[in-house]
């Protein structure tokens, strides 16, 4: 089985966010970047488990500039066989999907996995767009994935419950929590990653349908009103009269 896993490069979850250029660009200075958790913990690790059990290969693909290579190497250290970096700024979901589709189209992947969304731009779009560009079925929010005899069985969250679906390969799946447990790369993996193939692919020209014109930090809460533990009914009163929440 030939598996492709899309990975994106995002600020670590604890990052304090700031912006530059009159609040039109994310300030990456001093920020620790990691593989998007949904791509890494769930999509990539499940892909590796399937490969380990059934044979085949796992390729990771990333759209981004050369400075994202440490993130790609981490994916190789966790166990991917090889990597592809398409040399383009990933600043529009549709453009990213077009880049990946252009590369993947004639490579015969049986399974294409992405995370359900990135923790940076929270788009939740690339997987579905990729499926449309490649004319493939798509399942989002997948929490379980198995493959037998060229048929994938996918459990995923739907409105009001979960659905178990079956689909002949190939297809595109967006992974949610539950699909696998996080793996920490070991020393051997880290050493091996240095020499695994990382193919650089030039960008194609793509459409840019959206752009960000301004960033603002979310307004935080400034003061918490404390209620004495002995009078919780006071809280209910405030929630009713002041916050109008109940």
């Amino acid at each position: 089985m030939k598996i492709l896993v899309c990975i994106s490069n995002v600020p670590d979850t604890t990052t304090k966010i700031s912006f530059t250029n009159n609040n039109t660009a994310f300030n990456g200075a001093g920020v620790q970047f990691v593989i998007n958790p949904f791509d890494e913990w769930y999509a990539l690790v499940r892909a590796l488990e399937l490969k380990e059990a059934q044979g085949g290969s796992v390729t990771i693909i990333h759209v981004g500039a050369a400075d994202s290579e440490p993130t790609i190497r981490k994916g190789l250290a966790i166990g991917a066989d090889d990597a592809v970096r398409i040399d383009a700024e990933p600043n529009d979901a549709f453009a990213v999907a077009e880049q990946i589709a252009a590369y993947a189209k004639d490579k015969g992947f049986d399974l294409i996995l992405a995370g359900k969304e990135t923790i940076s731009y929270n788009g939740s779009m690339v997987g579905a767009m990729l499926a449309e560009l490649m004319n493939l079925p798509f399942v989002s929010m997948a929490t379980k994935l198995d493959v037998a005899n060229n048929v994938a069985t996918i459990e995923h969250d739907i409105d009001g419950g979960t659905e178990v679906a079956e689909c002949a390969l190939p297809l595109v799946i967006a992974a949610n929590k539950g699909m696998a447990e996080a793996r920490i790369p070991n020393m051997r993996g880290i050493m091996a990653a240095r020499t695994k193939p990382l193919l650089q692919v030039p960008a194609i020209s793509t459409d840019k349908l959206t752009s960000i014109s301004l960033f603002e930090l979310s307004k935080g809460r400034t003061d918490c009103k404390f209620i004495d533990a002995s009078t919780p009914e006071k809280l209910i009163e405030l929630l009713h009269t002041e916050a109008k929440a109940i």
Binding site: F215, S218, G220, I236, A243, A245, I246
Partner: protein, 322 residues
């Protein structure tokens, strides 16, 4: 020209997030001097769609739409959009919205903003919409450059408004002959909880401070007294104290209820990322230094095991006097 809104049925009626989307779409239609048309799969009472602002409802008809497969549904909505000459298409940013809206955007080469939190600002050729980014740590203003535009609206961004009004409902036969999705449903497991977490206006959430799954009875009691959904922090779901679909945060689901009550949750940055859009936050924690108090509107310092049952009693008393 018109504004098209994809709406959906859940538990025998039009979903709340769909009504929010119709309100939203009809406001945009008014700005563009046009009208709002809803599309829906399923036969239920559609009068709320008219009350929410739709002038017309297209009931999408094709046997293949029995499962809301993204390949079929995106094609069906595309056909409706073309028939209506829709330039703006609205979804709720829910499970179907996430599968289908980006697919439709690709078909139409439409710029899309997934998870919008505010009305778009339209002036001349400029069309901008705000959405949360960096898991709620910031808000970005997106400009859409394409002729057709798609917005999926984050649930609970606006309250539902129903007014006098009615929509003309007509059947709309869609042609899906050229598409054959290999996706088949094997089984659907219904969620036993009555309230859907992303739709819920009130949420009671608890963390590792509850010590073990056997102590969740009081959390459920409080939630029940309020009519709230229950949620939890990540370690609680990881340890299987609670089902994983209750896990909120950066790596769980993001919610923005009117009221979020956090009990025995420390308030780690990754947890806050999923709940900081809540309108009012209450924190109950025995540690006065717990970081969550810095992100709360109301706080009670003390032992949850003593406070929560008292709170439930107070809610019951309050409800009885309403």
């Amino acid at each position: 020209m018109s504004v098209l809104i994809y709406t959906e049925v859940s538990k025998g009626k039009v979903k709340k997030s769909s009504l929010e989307a119709v309100n939203y779409g009809s406001r945009i239609a008014a700005q563009l001097n046009t009208t709002a048309t809803a599309v829906i799969v399923g036969d239920v009472d559609l009068s709320d769609l008219g009350k929410a602002g739709a002038k017309k409802v297209l009931k999408l008809k094709n046997d293949k739409l029995a499962r809301l497969d993204s390949q079929y549904l995106s094609s069906a909505i595309e056909q409706a959009a073309n028939a209506e000459g829709a330039t703006v298409i609205i979804f709720a940013h829910d499970f179907t919205g996430k599968e289908v809206a980006p697919r439709l955007a690709t078909k139409l080469k439409a710029g899309i903003v997934a998870g919008a939190v505010d009305n778009p600002v339209i002036s001349g050729d400029s069309f901008t919409v705000k959405k949360n980014v960096f898991s709620g740590k910031a808000v970005a203003t997106y400009s859409l450059h394409s002729a057709k535009k798609i917005i999926s609206l984050l649930p609970n961004s606006f309250p539902v408004e129903l007014k006098d009004g009615s929509a003309e409902a007509v059947d709309f036969a869609v042609n899906l002959d050229g598409i054959n999705s290999p996706l088949k449903v094997k089984e659907v497991k219904k969620d036993t909880s009555e309230l859907n977490l992303t739709d819920a206006e009130l949420v009671v959430s608890a963390g590792r401070g509850m010590k073990g799954p056997e102590n969740w009875g009081m959390i459920e009691d409080l939630a029940k007294s309020l009519g709230a959904a229950t949620a939890c922090s990540r370690p609680v779901a990881d340890m299987d104290w609670r089902p994983h679909h209750e896990h909120v945060g950066q790596t769980g689901i993001a919610i923005r209820p009117d009221l979020y009550i956090a009990i025995g949750i420390s308030g780690a940055i990754q947890h806050l990322a999923g709940v900081n859009g809540s309108k009012t936050i209450v924190v109950i924690n025995s540690d006065k230094e717990a970081p969550f108090f810095k992100s709360a509107d109301y706080g009670i310092i003390g032992d949850a095991f003593e406070i929560v049952p008292k709170l439930t009693e107070a809610v019951k008393k309050f409800k009885a006097n309403q």
